[in-house]
Amino acid sequence: MSSLTRTITICNKLGLHARAAARFVQLASRFESEIRLTRGSREANGKSIMGVMMLAAGKGTELALIIEGNDAEEAMAELVGMVENRFGESE
């Protein structure tokens, strides 16, 4: 059981909009670990699309990604990769 925290920066042009949030949540939901995103004092369950969308994370927003559980390391690598890869969007 491990607990990891990383700061991520949203770098796709449109930010964490509906489709990007959907991709994030779909990937997050594949892991057992508890996954949370925080922006300042606001916090969202990383497996809830509405929660992720309501963080209002536009391009350039910094978020803390907090993952706790048995598969935390793998989840962190994949989720960070997806964010850095701009959710597969071209810009």
């Binding site: 909009h17 489709r19 309501m54 209002a56 850095e84 890869n85």
Partner: protein
């Protein structure tokens, strides 16, 4: 008096039909108190409605055409996930219990609370995501009110032949309306790249977007004309105008029928010369459209999609499986695979050591340059392609060659991989043809060198034009210079074609220019005998080839070299068209 409204034609074609005004909004809920013993029934009613709304979206998902862009599905997935989020399944239930109110009212309260959060967002794009909330809630409310999934007035209403007029349509609405038989649609919102516009093209429904106040100008049931090609909507047309459009529609239908009949026809000129005509493939999903037009070969199989949306590059094994799969999908027709043309702009992956900060990625580390810089990337792909060559007729081509030195380095890697495979006693086609893309002007000017060194060449016009004209296609201030018929571009193309003829090295063209019917005769006159085009353009190009006699073009080839301006080229194109 006839009324003509100009919008943006986003999907071609003409339709004449009665207006069907869509009132998107479901009836606005009002609060209704319920008895304590009704609360669980009301909760159940809400849950059943959410489940039914999810089923509707799932059923739309299964009906998305195979060639629709991948993000249409992602868009609907997002709505499906929203429907099943605690925000819609949990909070409204709590509200029903707490306030002893009807499900509709609980949903409306939750919707308004969510919309307030979104409308307070600073980012304008994220702010408009309140539309997603509204769409999702409306879908549930429609189920609760017993209305049809899309704003038809009656459940299962036949919309055959009607022209839908609405404020906006979601992609899901568009698919459902097409299934109900609509002839066309016109909406107040939207731009050319909106999902609904892209979907209309995939579904083949004529469509116009960006017509503000449209619903106030039209009456339910009146006959209108939609010219999706020109982006014009005509109301109150007189008989003469209607006759004109009926005739246009008939011509269009004849043209479409003629195209479909060409599916099996040979790609031959009037004087019996065979012209190679193949299809470009960008995504695995394109196979269906390629089969639909009966392509006899794949002239450009792009491999970039394999590398996208992931954190590690595809393994040799995964690539091998994908490449061998092409023969299965395409019934063994010849396939030309292009080694990966990734640019530092396309990706920012942690396995890729290149900098994504290049100001102008088109001029940066991309294509062959990137592959030579990241040899392990190239070697895995070369091994996969060579191994796949044992299973069907395969050719390989290299993008973005600029210098002979680069090509030699590439060939050295290829030779190494061949040796390795021989050592491993792994079967491959020893004589698999190797070709190169000509898209850098320096390579075009050295076409002789490359024609001698390679088995075939393929002209990539999109990049060749942008590099020749020194313009960035995405820069609106200079994009007017992006013109395939610029004499400078034509002379380079001519030079490459002539080098191919001198060296008896086949030269193909796989850029957008090859699939534009306006240029087919010009390119034939210049000596091009191999076209690789977007599947949607294949039959139209075949039609022009079959209506052209090469003999009649004989004098035109030399004339193209003397042209000095785009205007002169256009005059020549008119002459060619009149032949």
């Amino acid at each position: 008096m006839t009324l003509a409204l100009h919008g943006l034609g986003v999907s071609r074609g003409i339709a004449i039909g009665a207006v069907h005004l869509l009132k998107r909004d479901a009836p606005e809920p009002t609060e209704r108190g319920i008895e304590a013993d009704e609360i669980e029934t009301e909760v159940e009613r809400l849950r059943a409605a959410v489940a039914a709304a999810s089923d509707q979206i799932r059923s739309v998902l299964t009906r998305i055409p195979a060639d629709a862009p991948g993000d249409i599905g992602a868009f609907l997935d997002a709505h499906l996930m929203m429907l099943n989020d605690a925000a819609f399944t949990g909070e409204p239930v709590r509200l029903i219990r707490e306030r002893a109110c009807n499900a509709e009212w609980a949903l409306a309260l939750q919707r308004d609370a969510l919309m307030r959060v979104f409308s307070a967002m600073e980012d304008p794009y994220l702010r408009t995501r309140q539309d997603d909330v509204r769409h999702v809630v409306e879908r549930i409310l429609r189920v609760l009110s017993g209305a049809a999934p899309v704003a038809h007035d009656k459940e299962g209403e036949n919309l055959h032949g009607l022209v839908i007029v609405a404020e906006d349509l979601t992609p899901a609405d568009t698919v459902q309306l097409q299934q109900a038989g609509i002839a066309a649609f016109a909406i107040e919102h939207g731009g050319p790249t909106a999902h609904t516009a892209i979907l209309a093209r995939s579904l083949g429904i004529p469509a116009i977007v960006g017509l503000p106040n449209l619903r106030r100008l039209l009456r339910d049931g009146e006959t209108i004309v939609i010219d999706g090609t020109a982006g014009v909507l005509i109301a109150l047309a007189d008989e003469a105008l209607l006759r004109y459009y009926r005739e246009r529609k008939r011509q269009e239908r004849r043209y479409q029928t003629e195209l479909i009949q060409l599916r099996e026809a040979e790609s031959l000129t009037l004087d019996g010369i065979a012209v190679e005509l193949q299809a470009n493939i960008e995504l695995t999903a394109d196979f269906a459209s390629v089969r639909r037009v009966g392509a006899r070969g794949v002239g450009l199989y792009r491999t970039e999609f394999l590398y996208m949306n992931r954190t590690t590059p595809p393994s040799e094994e995964e690539q091998f499986e994908t490449y061998v799969g092409i023969f299965r999908e395409m019934d063994g027709v010849p396939v030309t695979i292009r080694t990966v043309d990734l640019g530092a702009d396309k990706l920012n992956l942690n396995w890729q050591r290149t900098s994504a900060s290049a100001v102008n990625p088109a001029l940066g580390l991309r294509g062959l340059r990137l592959c030579l810089h990241e040899p392990e990337l190239l070697i895995a792909q070369l091994r996969a392609i060579l191994r796949a060559s044992a299973f069907g007729p395969l050719r390989m081509m290299v993008p973005m060659i600029s210098t002979l030195q680069e090509l030699r380095q590439f060939m050295a890697h290829l030779e190494e991989v061949r040796k390795e495979l021989r050592r491993e006693e792994c079967e491959f086609d020893e004589s698999m043809p190797i070709g190169g893309m000509i898209e850098v002007p320096a390579a075009a000017l050295c076409a002789d060198t490359f024609a001698a060194a390679l088995d075939f060449l393929s002209i990539g016009t999109n990049d060749l034009i942008q590099y020749t004209m020194a313009i960035d296609r995405d820069n609106e201030e200079v994009s007017y210079l992006y013109d395939p018929i610029n004499p400078g571009v034509l002379r380079l193309i001519d030079y490459v074609l002539q080098a191919g003829i001198r060296h008896a090295t086949p030269v193909a063209m796989c850029g957008e220019m090859a699939g534009d019917t306006r240029y087919v005769r010009l390119l034939l006159a210049m000596g091009l005998r191999s076209f690789s085009v977007h599947p949607a353009a294949l039959l139209e190009v075949k039609r022009v080839i079959r209506r052209t006699s090469l003999e009649s073009l004989a004098s035109f080839g030399a004339r193209t070299r003397l042209l000095e301006s785009c205007a002169e080229v256009r005059d020549l194109l008119s002459e060619l068209e009149a032949l």
